[in-house]
């Protein structure tokens, strides 16, 4: 494991999400070239990442998948559902590996057989490579083993006879048994050949190997197949590698420059030749062969490729007593187990940096002012400057606070993109056809919300699929399309983030809810009779409620919507439901944009101070009493052409109001869930930013209170839940 593991885990998960999304899209439109391309790229990048953390089995498995996807990419043949399933299964396995790595901090053990199984499944339709030209096998070998090439003294290519098996030869065993074998690569001469066309009785393979043994010895050891092998001495002379000034890698690079110089294509020829010359000169300088480098420089001036090639070839033949030094291994320190990592847009960091800069300016101004005061600036001047600085500081601290909060903000996409997969599986398991739509996934919310909303939302979605959507026969009967639609959407509303799950199913069966509530004794029978439809529907959030006629595998797990309400409540949010029979259901999660700070305005009623969350306050106003009309037990007034219900804060809290019957009522106009309301108070206070602490323990279930915070003088400020005031 190396220090890149942390970043690897982060990126790999993103790539898995991307690949999953693309594969699911391909399921809808099997030959969408963009999606195939994108999925291919995700697997490809994932494979590269696995290589960097040296997780070879994962790289091998992904390579197999990539090969298959690449086939679809070039052939524009639609990808089959079976292959999509296999790809998804492979991603599942990778996810398990990642979880394992995250938990243990080490590469998963026993990954090899699993990877082999994946490679096996994908091997029948592998690779779009075409036939191998023979000449470049050495280059393939050196490119494939950049590090090990330098250890080798000879390179071997062995193409066994087609009837090798009948001659009693075992080519692979022969090579594997070679003394000093460093690496071995097998290639099919014609990988494009369809699997069915392969004759298993013929031997059709090319073996290339690096061997730490001189060429003569290798030839002698393989004398029985001498007509089928080609041995190349990497170390041209029988001395040890260290006798040569040019390392095998340097030789390989120089040889590549010769090939580049011989490259026939006319386009960009001058630049290619110039770069080959430059590289050759550099390699020779690196090796300490300045004179050879100079002779190439001279040949380059002649602008003649052949003379450059000759100069390089001459350099390749030279040897001196110099020893090419082995590079020392770079010590790598393993990183400690990863804490939580947050990805932050650099623009947001820049904002912070700028603000810090401004803060420094204010700090310096303060120092300057202190000196002025020391030098006898009058109190009035000091006060004025201080006030000025205080205003600046106030603004800056506010902005820094905001900027820091925004660092914690993530787009919903990070969570939303995890849903298509489970939705697909859930709908398949109950045989319902569902179109899953995601809207507003760029809506941002606090990290805490984005990260902890997955489970509750999954439960809501499960419910929608399992209970909300009717089966297709029922849907046809009510004239709906047989494919149901479920929309998961997010949007901002003032300082709230709203997340909705909307389905076009049958709506909540109110009678059934009544029945269950009565049967389970959730509500007394007479109370139930008097409840409005909305109140009854709201009972699905009561703990111990479940309407599934039979406990299904999916949602009938004893945790119901009450778990959702609790989870959302923990985040300072609220769940509500709107249902219309035969048309569908909307479950709405109203969440605060940030969970850290709440802006409140203080108000007074019955001589006590209360806080109202500033995000629900639209306006404060003085309303002449004669414009307030009583409506039943409540009251309302017209405000900006809208009728607004009015409650007295003191009265609704059961306190006796101190208000003398003055001509005007002081009201705070609020908006919650799109509903306007007004609260009459005795006095308006200031605004402040507080860390809201939810009520817990015995007071946990108390309605109407959003939470508490401490005031500067040690008193407890109760912050009210405005929505509850109007219920």
């Amino acid at each position: 494991m190396n220090e890149f593991v942390e970043q690897f885990l982060l990126e790999a998960r993103e790539l898995i999400e991307q690949a999953t999304g693309d594969l699911l899209a391909l399921e809808q439109r099997a030959n969408d070239p963009d999606k195939i391309d994108s999925a291919f790229r995700a697997f490809h990048t994932l494979k590269g990442a696995a290589g960097i953390v040296e997780f070879e089995p994962m790289a091998r498995a992904l390579h197999a998948v990539e090969g298959v996807l690449s086939g679809f990419r070039s052939k524009a043949r639609p990808i089959s559902p079976a292959i999509i399933d296999e790809c998804l299964a492979c991603l599942d396995q990778v996810t398990r590996w990642l979880d394992d790595m995250a938990a243990t901090g080490e590469l998963p053990s026993g990954a090899d057989p699993v990877a082999d199984a994946i490679v096996q499944r994908f091997s029948t339709s592998d690779s779009d490579a075409s036939t191998l030209p023979v000449g470049d096998w050495l280059e393939r070998l050196s490119a494939g083993n950049p590090g090990r090439f330098s250890e080798a003294r000879s390179a071997l290519r062995y193409v066994p006879h087609a009837d090798a098996f009948f001659r009693g030869e075992d080519p692979l065993a022969l090579i594997e048994g070679l003394r000093g074998l460093i690496s071995i690569d097998l290639t099919l001469p014609d990988p494009a050949q369809p699997f069915d066309a392969v004759n298993p009785f013929t031997c059709a393979v090319e073996i290339i190997a690096l061997i730490n043994e001189d060429a003569e010895t290798v030839k002698r050891l393989l004398s029985e197949v001498s007509d089928q092998i080609e041995v190349h001495a990497i170390d041209a002379k029988p001395q040890a590698v260290s006798d040569l000034v040019l390392s095998p890698l340097a030789r390989s690079v120089l040889e590549a420059q010769i090939l580049l110089l011989r490259e026939p294509g006319p386009n960009g020829r001058a630049a290619r030749a110039a770069s080959a010359g430059l590289v050759s000169i550099n390699v020779l300088h690196h090796a300490g062969l300045a004179s050879a480098a100079n002779s190439i420089a001279g040949a380059l001036n002649d602008a003649d490729a052949t003379s450059v090639i000759t100069a390089i070839e001459r350099a390749l033949q030279r040897k001196t007593d110099n020893v090419s030094s082995e590079r020392s291994e770079t010590a790598r320190t393993a990183s400690p187990a990863a804490a939580r990592v947050l990805r932050v847009d650099t623009a947001r960091i820049d904002t912070l940096v700028n603000l810090t800069g401004e803060l420094t300016v204010v700090k310096n101004a303060l120092g300057h002012l202190a000196k002025q005061a020391q030098d006898g600036l009058d109190a009035k001047g000091v006060t004025a400057s201080l006030r000025n600085l205080q205003t600046q500081l106030d603004r800056l601290v506010g902005e820094i606070q905001g900027a820091i909060l925004r660092i914690r903000v993530l787009p919903m996409r990070q969570m939303f993109q995890r849903f298509p997969r489970p939705v697909r599986e859930i709908s398949a398991s109950v045989s319902k056809s569902i179109q899953f739509v995601i809207e507003g996934d760029d809506t941002e919310a606090d990290t805490a919300i984005v990260e902890s909303l997955f489970e509750p939302l999954l439960h809501v979605l499960r419910n929608a699929i399992d209970h909300g959507i009717e089966d297709s026969a029922q849907r046809m009967a009510s004239g709906k399309p047989s494919t149901a639609t479920i929309v998961l959407r997010a949007f901002r509303e003032l300082d709230n983030v709203i997340v909705e799950v909307e389905d076009d199913g049958g709506g909540v069966d109110v009678d059934r809810v009544r029945e269950v509530a009565a049967a389970r004794g959730l509500v007394a029978a007479d109370t139930l009779a008097g409840m409005t439809e909305a109140d009854v529907i709201d009972l699905i959030f009561a703990s111990g409620f479940s309407t599934a006629r039979e406990v299904t595998d999916l949602s009938g797990r004893g945790v119901g919507m009450d778990a959702v309400r609790t989870a959302v409540g923990r985040l300072g949010g609220r769940v509500s439901i709107a249902s219309r029979p035969k048309i569908g259901t909307v479950i709405r999660l109203t969440l605060p944009f940030t969970v850290m700070m709440t802006h409140v305005m203080t108000v007074e009623a019955a001589g006590q101070v209360f806080g109202l969350p500033l995000d629900v306050i639209v306006e404060t106003a003085m309303i002449p009493r004669n414009l307030i009309v009583p409506i039943g037990a409540a009251a309302a007034f017209t405000w900006r052409d809208r009728t607004v219900p009015l409650v007295s804060l003191a009265a609704s809290l059961g306190l006796s109001s101190y208000i003398a019957d003055v001509g005007q009522a002081r009201v705070v106009v609020t908006s919650t869930g799109g509903q306007l309301g007004a609260i009459e108070v005795e006095r308006l206070g200031g605004r402040m930013d507080v860390m809201l602490k939810p009520m817990d323990g015995l007071l946990g279930g108390m309605k109407g209170v959003a939470g508490t915070t401490l005031l500067g003088d040690g008193r407890v400020l109760i912050v009210l839940d405005v929505q509850e005031l109007f219920n």
């Binding site: 590269g48 990442a49 290589g51 960097i52 590549a256 630049a271 290619r272 080959a276 300088h285 291994e329």
Partner: protein, 129 residues
Amino acid sequence: MTLAKTRRVLIVDDAALVRAYYRQALEQAGYHVDEALNGLEALEKVLLHSFDLLIVDVNMPQMDGITFLRALRNKELPMSAVPTLVTSTEAGPQDISSARAAGANYYVIKPLKQDALTELADMLCGVVA
């Protein structure tokens, strides 16, 4: 010959992890490192800055490494003859020969170990050991 720390390398790869991995090795070896996420970005960088070596991935969105190399060598820019190291996960002979036809000086197959990378970079840039 100038000192190693003045060498500038441009890493062209769409995978952030790969860029970070290369960058760390190269910076430790004293290189100044710049990054581009695809061939198009690399072309822009090459127009504006000078480099001693380009390390180019093949498979990238928008503009792949081969197209980029071809454009680089064809355009007769001041940077057209810069040494280029192509790194790719593809090991097929076709891949290697098409990279060379486009003008790659050397081709290595990923994953490329950090020490192998710095050794190659030192060679291709002519750093005197």
